[in-house]
């Protein structure tokens, strides 16, 4: 089975190898790899277009899981967008208001995952910011995720900054 994958790598050395390794391990044959080193995505990642032939179609799901476990985002499989990612920013006492609870509440919505998060803590008493990437595998759940975020922001008195696309 011939499959085209659009993946996005971190802009760091060694990422491409990390993306290709599971393919050969799972018995896939690489047909082509186009590494668009100069054109970063909106999130500063490097897009790579991979064409691979898999002997056993059932290994596809395993492959996708392994890639994502290695922080390689799979944007599209055979031109079909797999998951949508949205970025949001929370400002305020993000850590002190139980950040674990914030993340759990989002992850508890099925089809929604906090895929990535970076924090900025200028000073223990000062306000913190958290930038989160939300991965939505079920587009119907975007509304629920945004409602939960609004609720969290209100309850915890945080300022929520959404990305333009949502």
């Amino acid at each position: 089975m011939r499959i085209e994958l659009d993946v996005e790598l971190k802009d760091k050395p060694g990422q491409l190898v990390k993306a290709l390794e599971p393919i050969s391990r799972l018995g896939g044959n690489l047909i082509s790899v186009i590494h668009l080193r100069e054109t970063l995505t909106k999130r500063g990642r490097v897009p790579v277009h991979i064409i691979v032939s898999l002997e056993n179609p059932e290994t596809l799901e395993t492959l996708l899981t392994e890639l994502e476990a290695n922080d390689i985002w799979v944007a599209k499989v055979d031109e079909v967008r797999r998951k949508k990612r949205f970025t949001i920013l929370l400002i305020g006492h993000v850590v002190d208001t139980d950040i674990r609870d914030t993340i759990d509440r989002l992850n508890n919505i099925s089809g929604v995952l906090v895929a990535d998060m970076s924090l900025s803590m200028p000073h223990p008493e000062k306000e913190t910011s958290a930038l989160m990437d939300l991965e939505i595998s079920n587009p119907d759940k975007l509304g629920a995720a945004l409602d939960e975020l609004d609720l969290i922001a209100r309850e915890k008195k945080l300022t929520l900054v959404k990305s333009l696309e949502i």
């Binding site: 970063l40 909106k42 999130r43 500063g44 970025t87 949001i88 920013l89 400002i91 305020g92 970076s118 924090l119 900025s120 200028p122 000062k126 306000e127 913190t128 910011s129 958290a130 930038l131 300022t159 900054v161 959404k162 990305s163 333009l164």
Partner: protein
């Protein structure tokens, strides 16, 4: 065409300057000879049925700040001037009030009532009582134009309704306030905090002494209501907008967003029937990422796709570009000759 000018502050004086500057050009190009027959501010009214000497009036008011100090001016109030001094059109440029819409709302209704066309940059009456104003203008058979009220010099309403008249406008998003854009841009470039940056903006005369109307998002919300009604044919009011300002934005948050390729901008947006004003993460390479005091608006349309326009959202002369274009459009439609 005879004009009652109501309000003689930044924009009113800018209007007088624009007419002086463009007098010969307007005559040569369009055969248009506007004549300002009354000017009112809060202190009184100056009247001359043959046309007021705008240079002399500017000279006096620049010195004293009051119309009443001009030779021949009386304590006649603006409403009496609107009703009593013959003219075809009123230019209404008094301060915006988003709580009551006054004094602008009464001025506009009175002018329409006596059959005068109305051109305004005043957001208050539009954000509160658009439906009533529209209906009154229709009933009285006069034109009502307000391009300058949302987006300053950017020709948004005309672009959407005239130039893109075959398109359906699906959504509108943009940066509609120069003060907040200036503050966020400076915080991004210099890493300064909100309070310090606001103070600098005030020192530079970019932010008002009372900056709350801008930084709370209210100004953006008023403009969004105006665009929604004029372009999407709705009857929204200020209370339909969910509004969040920029006071809670920190330099750390901006820096964090930047690491991931985003800037933070105060965006006004109408989409799927809902109106909102809030700081948003905008990808750095997005057309809405414009800096400094610039404004920008983007329409998503069914045929043309996205159409984006960047320009100056305020300024004495810039804003009068839109006021003059409204007046010319009324004049060229054959009305008020």
């Amino acid at each position: 065409m005879r004009i009652n000018l109501v309000g003689f502050g930044v924009i009113g004086k800018g209007f007088a300057k624009t007419l002086i500057m463009k007098r010969d050009w307007l005559k040569a190009r369009y055969g248009f000879e506007p004549s300002v027959v009354s000017i009112s501010d809060i202190t009184g009214t100056l009247v001359n049925p043959d046309g007021i000497d705008l240079s002399a009036t500017l000279e006096t008011v620049n010195r004293t700040g009051r119309i009443i100090d001009c030779p021949g001016a009386t304590v006649m109030q603006s409403l009496d001037a609107i009703r009593g001094v013959d003219a075809e059109l009123m230019v209404e440029v008094t301060p915006t009030n988003v709580k009551t819409g006054e004094p602008g709302l009464s001025h506009m209704l009175a002018a329409m009532d006596v059959g005068k066309h109305v051109v305004t940059s005043n957001k208050g009456p539009l954000a509160l009582a658009y439906k009533k104003l529209r209906a009154t203008a229709e009933k009285k058979g006069v034109q009502f134009k307000f391009e300058s009220s949302a987006g300053g010099a950017m020709p948004l309403i005309n672009l959407a309704n005239e130039v893109l008249s075959g398109d359906e406008i699906i959504s509108i998003k943009g940066i509609l306030n120069g003060t907040t854009n200036f503050i966020l841009t400076k915080m991004t470039k210099e890493g300064t905090d909100f309070e310090t940056t606001l103070k600098e903006a005030q020192e530079l005369g970019i932010a008002e002494t009372d900056p709350s109307y801008d930084i709370s998002g209210s100004d953006t919300a008023s403009k969004l209501v105006i665009l929604t009604n004029a372009i999407l044919g709705r009857e929204a009011t200020y209370s339909d907008v969910s509004v969040q300002g920029i006071t809670k934005i920190t330099p750390e948050a901006i820096a964090l967003a930047k690491e991931e390729g985003f800037v933070i901008k105060l965006i006004g947006e109408v989409e799927d029937g809902s109106l909102s004003v809030a700081p948003k993460l905008v990808p750095e390479n997005h057309p809405l990422n414009v800096d400094g005091t610039l404004n920008v608006a983007s329409f998503t349309t069914d045929l043309a796709g996205d159409v984006t326009i960047v320009g100056r959202g305020a300024g004495a002369i810039e804003t009068n570009s839109a006021i003059l274009s409204d007046i010319l459009s009324i004049y060229r439609s054959g009305a008020g000759r």
